[in-house]
């Protein structure tokens, strides 16, 4: 389990990846060829993965994303230290905050 700022990256056994993940569209890479886990819309800073693999995102605002790294990779961000990741499957969770009667995504 790895945390970079408001993003948690949880290793998952391949057998434990839900069937539906295969049907999710693969996210396109950004202009720098990275898989963007979370984008700060105003700052433009991003938690992104460098390395061969694929990112599949569930629909919805608190959506879990599924990251498959075929040879391992690195998580990078403009303000956080780099985290190396071994090859394998990961569940990517965005940090949230409690509000009375609602829950919202943390804007890092």
């Amino acid at each position: 389990m790895y945390r970079q700022g408001d993003v948690l990256i949880v290793p998952v056994e391949e057998a434990a990846v839900p069937q539906r993940v295969a049907g999710l569209p693969g996210q396109p890479r950004d202009a720098r060829g990275r898989l963007v886990l979370a984008l700060g819309e105003v700052t433009g800073h991003a938690h992104a993965v460098v390395g061969p693999g694929e990112l599949r995102r569930e629909p919805g605002p608190f959506a879990t994303a599924w990251l498959h790294l075929t040879e391992g990779g690195r998580v990078v961000h403009e303000e956080h230290a780099v985290i190396p990741l071994p090859k394998g499957w990961y569940r990517v969770v965005r940090q949230r905050e409690y509000l009375p009667g609602a829950v919202r995504v943390v804007a890092d």
């Binding site: 945390r3 940090q95 905050e97 509000l99 009375p100 919202r104």
Partner: protein, 413 residues
């Protein structure tokens, strides 16, 4: 600027559209503002685009394209031309509505349009917007298949939809409140009936609107399905061009009403309207929305935030406004000034609780960033967690939706 050269996307027409780039382009279009100094150019470009949209629909161009300064003013003009103004003037918001309707009426008269029901002819939203929309959707679905359509939507329009929808929903709500407010609780039956009729007139006029820049999610998916708007999708080029130069607009047979884009738009990272020192959304005629992290607040409320004290915050009876006050004051400062006690402390952080009268307590985890700032310090931040949280680790784990015992990061930065 002809229909054929009008390209909403940036990729060359021959290259397959990159959904991420197209989505980014339309995300910018959806939240674009136009400074007042740009008004003449903006107005000319919007008018040309509107005329192109009529031609693409096989209709004669409108005899007048009337520029309005906000969706409020444009809606008022639509009420005048559509016959709903009388119902609004008989409702409980008559005094406020009268001024807006008068301003809209002057704009119509200046453009040579009689400010009376029927002067613009019937709405042509169906042939101008809905029919080409439907045609494009059918074509793209046939081309990509059901799964392909769903996948493309997820990468383009689906991503833009929630925030655009939230914004248009908020604007609609405020427009309705301004022109057709609810009757007072103690109002008699006649007033209630008139209030209901006014709301109905406003909703009916809103149904005729084309959302201009706020149609970006749909334009994004059609643009990405392309390539561009060439060939089969050419019918949407005019609509796409209007979306780059105008806000909401009302197409009628002989007249088009076109509202300006906002001059001011402030949002937070989550895309919600957010500004502490002025309107979060404002138009050239002064129509404005005030909001703090998405929550609508009265204009004078924001002005009072500067002199906040812990007592003033505790005394605020409205829980939502109190939350705004707390966020503005700063949780950290409030913790210090109000003498809040830490509930629990472990290696993940500190758990704090602030008791509030007649409300659930604010429970927060204080977390320290693992990566140092450029000056060598570590940034501390606070996240609100459910009030029943008992340990700092449980709080942090909750923010990631993970059970407390499972939250064991081996690396944090």
């Amino acid at each position: 600027m002809t229909q054929q050269t009008e390209r909403p996307g940036r990729a060359p027409a021959t290259a397959p559209a990159d959904p991420a780039r197209v989505a980014a382009y339309w995300r910018r279009a959806a939240v674009a503002t136009a400074p007042a100094a740009d008004a003449p150019r903006e107005r000319a470009a919007a008018e040309q685009a509107v005329r192109a949209a009529y031609r693409a629909a096989g209709l004669a161009e409108p005899t007048a394209v009337v520029r309005l300064d906000s969706p409020l003013q444009a809606l008022a003009a639509a009420l005048i031309l559509g016959g709903g103004a009388q119902a609004v003037l008989a409702g409980p918001g008559a005094a406020q509505a009268a001024a807006v309707l008068a301003a809209a009426g002057r704009r119509l008269a200046d453009a040579g349009v009689a400010a009376e029901p029927g002067a613009a002819g019937p709405s042509v939203r169906e042939p101008v917007r809905t029919a080409p929309w439907e045609r494009s959707r059918r074509l793209v679905r046939e081309r990509l298949g059901g799964a392909g359509w769903a996948g493309l939507w997820a990468l383009t329009g689906g991503e833009l939809w929630p925030q655009t929808q939230a914004l248009t929903g908020r604007i609609e709500g405020v427009l309705t409140d301004r022109l057709a407010p609810e009757a007072e609780a103690e109002a008699d039956g006649t007033v209630r009936v008139r209030a209901t009729a006014a709301v109905r007139a406003v909703r009916s006029a809103l149904l005729d609107a084309v959302l201009g820049q706020h149609d970006a999610p749909w334009l994004a998916v059609f643009d990405a399905a392309g390539p561009g708007f060439e060939g089969d999708l050419a019918g949407l080029a005019g609509l796409a061009a209007v979306a780059r130069h105008a806000g909401w607009w009302w197409p009628y047979e002989r007249v088009a009403l076109v509202a300006a884009r906002p001059t001011t738009l402030h949002r937070d990272e989550a895309g919600r309207l957010d500004r502490a020192d002025g309107p979060a959304l404002a138009y050239p005629d002064g129509f404005a929305l005030h909001a703090w992290r998405g929550m609508p607040v009265p204009e004078d409320f924001l002005a009072g935030l500067d002199g906040l004290t812990t007592e003033r915050i505790r005394e605020e009876e409205n829980a939502e406004l109190r939350r705004v006050m707390l966020e503005h004051y700063g949780y950290d400062r409030y913790l210090a000034d109000s003498g809040a006690e830490p509930l629990h402390r472990d290696e993940t952080g500190v758990l704090w609780r602030i008791q509030l009268p007649d409300d659930e307590p604010v429970v927060m985890v204080e977390v320290v960033n693992s990566t140092a700032e450029p000056d060598g310090t570590f940034r501390t931040y606070w996240l609100r967690v459910p009030p029943a949280t008992r340990t700092a680790r449980a709080g942090v784990a909750w923010t990631f939706g993970v059970p407390e015992q499972d939250y064991l990061p081996e690396r944090e930065t």
